[in-house]
């Protein structure tokens, strides 16, 4: 066990051991155990539980819906993140910090309230609800509502990741490209995008994890109609409350697996971004 010198005075060994033991114990009980339990419960009767759980057409419909919602909300928020970070990081204008605050709002609004404000807008008592209903278009208790609230709760992920990264990288390379005769889109695709690729992927992965797993907001607008408007997390809830606990854990383990994969990718990307920063510092030396 050693401590890097730049981190000051080394603590006595007994302090180190005590704190490390507390750390490992706390993380093991509070973070690792719940995840372990999911897989333990799901695999209690072996893979049989999965076979039974996946025979249910509602399970497949939930998987489909979750993938559909993710496939819409992630790209949409990625495009927004790219546009917002270009406008905010590459230009100076008044009101920038206000705009940054507004983009962060969805993080400050709790999931249930996020869902609820969409009900107020599109529900039958809502602003647009009656009109849309007259046209035969249903938003609340239907797929469009689920997509909308998922977009809302995952709104800031990509932008939040890209804005600081692009601000840090500055405008020099883009100005050089423009002075060499590159068009705007050429500058973006050949110069900016390669420089932000890891940060972009990082944001997309976080956005994706949240989009797949969102529960509170979606449960408000979906109505949990089995086989129709239940996403995977809602399907888990339905199974669990219906006392089909093994199946609930089997489906939950699928989501947990996605979570673990996200974590692994995220760790790898953090390492990548750190490496890129180091290179950047080297080039600017």
């Amino acid at each position: 066990m050693s401590v890097e010198n730049k981190h000051g005075i080394q603590d006595p060994l007994w302090v180190q051991w005590t704190l490390i033991t507390i750390t490992i114990g706390f993380v093991a009980i509070f973070l690792a155990l719940p995840v372990a339990i999911i897989f333990a419960e799901a695999l209690k009767d072996g893979l049989k539980t999965y076979a039974i759980a996946l025979k249910d057409p509602a399970a497949w419909s939930a998987i489909h819906l979750t993938l559909l919602v993710t496939a819409i909300s992630v790209p949409v928020n990625t495009v927004f993140g790219l546009a917002a970070s270009w406008a905010i990081a590459k230009f100076e204008f008044k009101g920038k910090s206000l705009l940054l605050t507004l983009i962060d709002i969805p993080f400050a609004v709790s999931p249930v309230i996020s869902g609820f404000i969409y009900v107020l807008l599109f529900g039958l008592q809502g602003w647009f609800g009656q009109t849309l209903s007259d046209w035969g278009f249903k938003v609340i208790f239907a797929v469009p509502g689920i997509v909308l609230v998922t977009i809302f709760v995952t709104f800031p992920f990509v932008a939040r990741e890209l804005i600081p990264l692009m601000q840090e990288q500055g405008n020099d390379e883009e100005q050089a490209a423009i002075s060499l005769g590159a068009k705007g889109w050429q500058t973006f695709f050949y110069v900016t995008l390669p420089n932000i690729r890891w940060g972009l992927l990082y944001g997309v992965i976080l956005c994706n994890a949240r989009a797949m797993g969102e529960f509170g907001a979606v449960s408000v607008v979906s109505g949990s109609i089995r086989g129709k408007t239940a996403t995977l997390p809602l399907h888990v809830e339905v199974l669990y409350n219906g006392f089909n606990v093994p199946a609930a854990f089997a489906m939950a383990s699928l989501l947990a697996l996605v979570g673990l994969l996200t974590l692994a990718l995220k760790t790898y990307l953090e390492w990548k971004v750190k490496q890129q920063r180091r290179e950047l510092a080297l080039v600017n030396e």
Binding site: Q175, I178, G181, A182
Partner: protein
């Protein structure tokens, strides 16, 4: 191609970066914009490039070869701009960096692959980096990166070359080499070149002509020897080398020094009653002459090509005199001794008046 700018103003928020600046650069000239940081030199360069727009003003003009380019965007002006921190594309190889300007051209004017290859190799030879084409910028030294940045700017066959503090981020030894190389390159290419620098030595050594800037204005324009030996005002004199300040007056064409003055911060309005003398223009004697000032030797520095002697007067203000080693040994000076300081040559600055 000749460049002319007329009556350029530029302000950022409430800060004036350029205040009615006009300048003409002849075809094939290498000129240096020299000044302290914040003097507006980089802003002027960026305005010429089209990376910045001047404040809207009817008299303002930016002429390239007599043609007004104020409305043109940076790409249309065909300038080669070299950035202070290189701004190389980090994820592209040296070859791709240099080829970039050719590859992004519309299909109609884009050279063929073979032509691009040929052109880039030619440029790699010019910057003495043949065989480095596949390296990434992170694998190059600072001096090599700066040369790649220059080659990248030259690849688009620009009409003018604009260099923003090109050697600012490099260490002294490398700067020296690159300076000489840039001068040779300019003699080879004869391209109109504007170089921004805060290093007076660099400007004096490389440029055909020096533009001294201070506080958003041009103080003096002239050949290196002209600005050095005949500075237009106190600022230019102080900026291009060390200068001593004396209290005194001019009588019958001679400077009568009364005391050593303290150095003030330069201020355009303060055309003073001060007398300015360069260190090598000072004389030190053991006996009082006609117009010498009495002082005490404070420090002696013999590391260099001459002896530097710091003398303080009774008022506590100091001057630096540079005398030859022969003279120094002849006098046999010691710290704490009393000496007399006089000027072989001195300047006073009143508008358009100098002795």
């Amino acid at each position: 191609m000749g460049i002319e700018v007329q009556h350029i103003y530029k302000s950022f928020n409430n800060y004036n970066a350029l205040q009615d600046v006009s300048l003409k650069v002849n075809d094939g000239e290498l000129i240096a914009l020299l000044g302290p940081s914040g003097s507006g030199k980089t802003t002027l360069l960026r305005i010429i490039a089209g990376l910045e727009v001047p404040d809207l003003c009817e008299e303002s003009k930016i002429l390239f070869h007599g043609k007004d380019v104020a409305k043109q965007r940076v790409a249309e002006r065909q300038v080669g701009f070299v950035f202070q921190h290189y701004a190389l594309f980090k994820h592209m190889s040296v070859f791709e960096n240099i080829a970039f300007g050719l590859k992004v051209r519309p299909r109609a004017t884009r050279p063929s692959k073979a032509e691009i290859q040929h052109r880039v190799n030619e440029l790699l030879r010019l910057i003495q980096l043949d065989g480095f084409g596949n390296r990434l910028p992170s694998q190059l030294s600072g001096g090599q990166r700066q040369r790649v940045a220059l080659a990248r700017a030259l690849a688009i066959a620009p009409k003018v070359l604009l260099l923003d503090e090109p050697f600012g981020a490099l260490d002294a030894k490398v700067r020296q080499g690159l300076r000489a190389w840039l001068r040779r390159l300019h003699e080879e290419l004869h391209m109109t070149t504007i170089l921004v620098t805060h290093d007076q030595e660099e400007a004096l050594e490389v440029a055909d002509k020096i533009v001294v800037m201070n506080q958003a204005k041009i103080e003096q324009v002239g050949a290196p020897e002209e600005v050095f030996h005949r500075p237009a005002n106190e600022f230019v004199m102080d900026f291009l080398g060390h200068v001593n300040v004396f209290h005194g007056r001019v009588e019958n064409g001679r400077a009568r020094l009364t005391d050593i003055g303290s150095k003030l911060t330069w201020n355009r309005e303060a055309f003073g009653n001060a007398v300015y003398v360069r260190p090598h223009e000072l004389e030190i004697d053991r006996v009082a002459g006609d117009d010498g000032i009495r002082g005490t030797v404070r420090r002696i520095n013999l590391a260099g090509t001459c002896a530097k002697v710091v003398v303080a007067s009774s008022s506590g203000n100091e001057v630096v005199a540079e005398i030859s080693f022969e003279r120094f040994h002849e006098l046999g000076l010691q710290r704490g001794e009393t000496v007399f300081v006089s000027a072989k040559r001195a300047r006073v600055f009143t508008p358009d008046y100098e002795i």
